[in-house]
């Protein structure tokens, strides 16, 4: 178990840096997690993170990679609606790294 500190306040994370309490999440915190992941958050990164959170609020799970690429393609243009583009944004893998920054639990299983 670890913690991540933002604006003088500490928030609980698991061993890998995923937030334990989803309700703790805010944009400053996301920025801090992104920094630890060595990711410079651009507008396009935020589009992905915001979509993940919207989807999670509705379905209690992160979207499948294909659902995500389709949604991002619609928002940012078809050339960006690809798994490869998502890897450019989140080099460790869109499913896991983007979820971490969005404050969602880590997708588990054979993924």
């Amino acid at each position: 178990m670890g913690t991540i500190e933002v604006n003088g306040k500490a928030f609980e994370t698991d061993e890998e840096g995923y937030l334990v309490n989803l309700a703790d999440w805010n944009e400053d915190l996301a920025g801090e997690i992104a920094k630890a992941e060595k990711i410079d958050m651009t507008e396009n990164h935020w589009e992905v993170v915001n979509f993940l959170r919207e989807y999670y609020n509705e379905y209690q799970i992160a979207p499948a990679v294909r659902v995500l690429t389709k949604a991002i393609g619609k928002k940012l243009g078809p050339e960006k609606g690809s798994n490869q583009y998502l890897y450019e944004l989140f080099p460790y893998g869109p499913a896991k790294q983007a979820c971490k920054i969005a404050g969602l639990p880590k997708p588990t299983g054979c993924v």
């Binding site: 061993e15 890998e16 379905y59 209690q60 799970i61 979207p63 499948a64 990679v65 294909r66 659902v67 389709k70 798994n83 490869q84 890897y87 893998g93 499913a95 896991k96 639990p105 997708p107 588990t108 299983g109 054979c110 993924v111």
Partner: protein, 508 residues
């Protein structure tokens, strides 16, 4: 996370120089008390862990005759030493299968053999200290239960059984692994390893229907919870979620569509994987398998078909019959009810490769092989399919049917080096419950032998696609290929190739 390094590829793969304790720091996260207790295991190490562990070992060697034989029979001949991908990739001598299994064997000898009780030092008997318990945790999580070493063992010792026994003892003293146990909890709570709830699954499947319609113009359906369907498809939940897995799911759907077979997925049994096998726990394995029987009865299906998932096919082919009464062998009333419901003109269960290959042979599918001409394909045998199951009616069908299927849908196919395929295939490096990020360094190193044979066919024959029929292999290779200079999209499913070649609506 520790630094992740890939060893250099070697032109002539030989056993590496030993590097003692090279992987002594490799340790997957330990399950939390909540994850443990949800499966009926103690939440943390109790004070009397030593006595409990020894008692559990005694209970197991009493119950499982095979385990006792595997613990007694080893003569330390060393035939297995250089057969393990984790030893070849790390050089840590405790990853020689004989040495890894000696960690448990020494303790067994101390407590359950006469010479070990009387003269422990003379027979290499060992005490179960806390350090030894930690070594068990670390090194039995550096074995992917792939059973390659067993192929070369002159006594036929099933080394994976020893690993499974050690993990079962660890769970019984509150020292379980987070990755596997968290996932098993999700299967019971939500229905699949991912934790994908029914509504999300439905939404995902509707999206796939749209995609396929857009690509092909055909109304290919991905039915969910459809009572009265002929086929219940049990597939890994990664097929719904991840790339490249989803392309195989699309392939299965196109095959069912083209052949006019009614089929359904189940939101409650939306997972083929059975991690009960990985942790060596019979009760978990059975509970996970029973979800499938329940759903098969509920939906009234005639056939049960398993998607591309390696260890799931082992469980389905080898154990579903007595675990759940799918196939003959189950004797309780529900098993008998299921037996009378299923259509025995078909194999129960059927692997998706068997189903598609049967259709190809009957000429029921229109295939455009040229559609795969941009690919030079090789096939990676997944360990649990290769060494623990079969397909079709002939010995070796588990090797030949996927290959025959690939050749039916693609023109350019190349085999990797003999000794690295078929029953001697190398594990992808992430099997057996080790597909977790905190041990990525181990996973990268364990992939070395497979990467070497892939490099060879890539350089000589231009291979640019490695097909496989296991969700773990797909996820593992997607992750580790870049460490060896390959593109991650080089790996994919056999039904991804089928999906590319199949022509819908063209059959007269």
């Amino acid at each position: 996370m520790a630094e992740i390094t890939a060893p250099a590829l070697r032109e002539f793969p030989v056993a590496p120089a030993v590097s003692p304790d090279a992987m002594a720091a490799s340790k997957p996260y330990v399950a939390t008390d909540k994850m443990q207790e949800a499966l009926g295991f103690p939440g943390a190490l109790p004070e009397d862990w030593h006595d409990r562990a020894i008692a559990k070992l005694g209970e197991m060697v009493g119950k499982y005759r095979g385990l006792r034989v595997y613990l007694d029979a080893c003569v330390h001949c060393g035939a297995c030493t250089d057969k393990c991908h984790y030893f070849l990739g790390t050089g840590d001598p405790k990853n020689m299968p004989v040495a890894r299994q000696e960690l448990l064997r020494g303790v067994y000898r101390r407590h359950y053999t006469l010479p070990g009780k009387l003269f422990p030092k003379l027979v290499g008997a060992r005490e179960l200290t806390k350090d030894m318990l930690d070594d068990w945790y670390k090194y039995y999580h550096q074995c992917s239960e792939c059973r390659r070493c067993s192929v070369f063992c002159p006594y036929g010792i099933d080394t994976a059984e020893v690993t499974m026994a050690a993990r079962e003892i660890l769970d019984s003293v509150g020292y379980g692994q987070k990755y596997s146990n968290e996932i098993i909890g999700k299967v019971h709570r939500i229905g699949n390893n991912l934790g994908l709830p029914g509504p999300a699954l439905e939404d995902t499947l509707l999206g796939l229907e749209e995609d396929v319609k857009e690509d092909t113009g055909a109304d290919v359906k991905f039915p969910l919870d459809q009572k009265g369907a002929e086929v219940l498809l049990i597939t890994p939940s990664a097929d719904f979620f991840a790339e490249p897995h989803v392309d195989s799911l699309i392939g299965y759907a196109k095959v069912f569509h083209a052949a006019g077979i009614s089929w359904t997925l189940s939101s409650k049994a939306s997972e083929a994987a059975n991690f009960g096998l990985f942790i060596g726990n019979y009760d978990q394995m059975r509970a996970i398998a029973l979800r499938i029987r329940e759903q098969a009865l509920e939906l009234g299906v005639k056939r049960i078909v398993v998607g591309e998932c390696g260890h799931a096919w082992r469980v389905a082919y080898s154990f579903w019959n007595t675990l759940a009464g799918i196939g003959s062998g189950g004797e309780d009333p529900f098993a008998r009810q299921l037996q009378s419901q299923l259509d025995h003109r078909y194999r129960q269960p059927t692997h998706i490769c068997e189903l598609t290959w049967d259709l190809v042979q009957k000429g029921a599918l229109v295939l455009d092989k040229e559609a795969n001409d941009h690919r030079v394909v090789t096939f990676h045998d997944s360990c649990n399919v290769a060494r623990a199951s079969r397909m079709g009616d002939e010995p070796g069908g588990q090797f030949e049917i996927p290959r025959a299927l690939i050749r039916a849908v693609a023109n350019r196919y190349v085999e990797m080096r003999p000794g690295t395929t078929h029953e001697a295939t190398f594990c992808c490096g992430g099997g057996g419950g080790l597909l977790t990020d905190e041990i990525l360094d181990l996973r990268v190193k364990g992939a070395l032998p497979r990467m070497e044979s892939l490099r060879e066919v890539a350089d000589r024959h231009g291979v640019n696609f490695m097909a496989t029929i296991c969700a773990i292999c797909k996820a593992q290779f997607t992750k580790v290929l870049p460490y060896y200079g390959f593109n991650r999209s080089m790996v994919g499913g056999v039904h991804q190739l089928v999906s590319t070649a199949i022509r819908l609506g063209a059959k007269q």
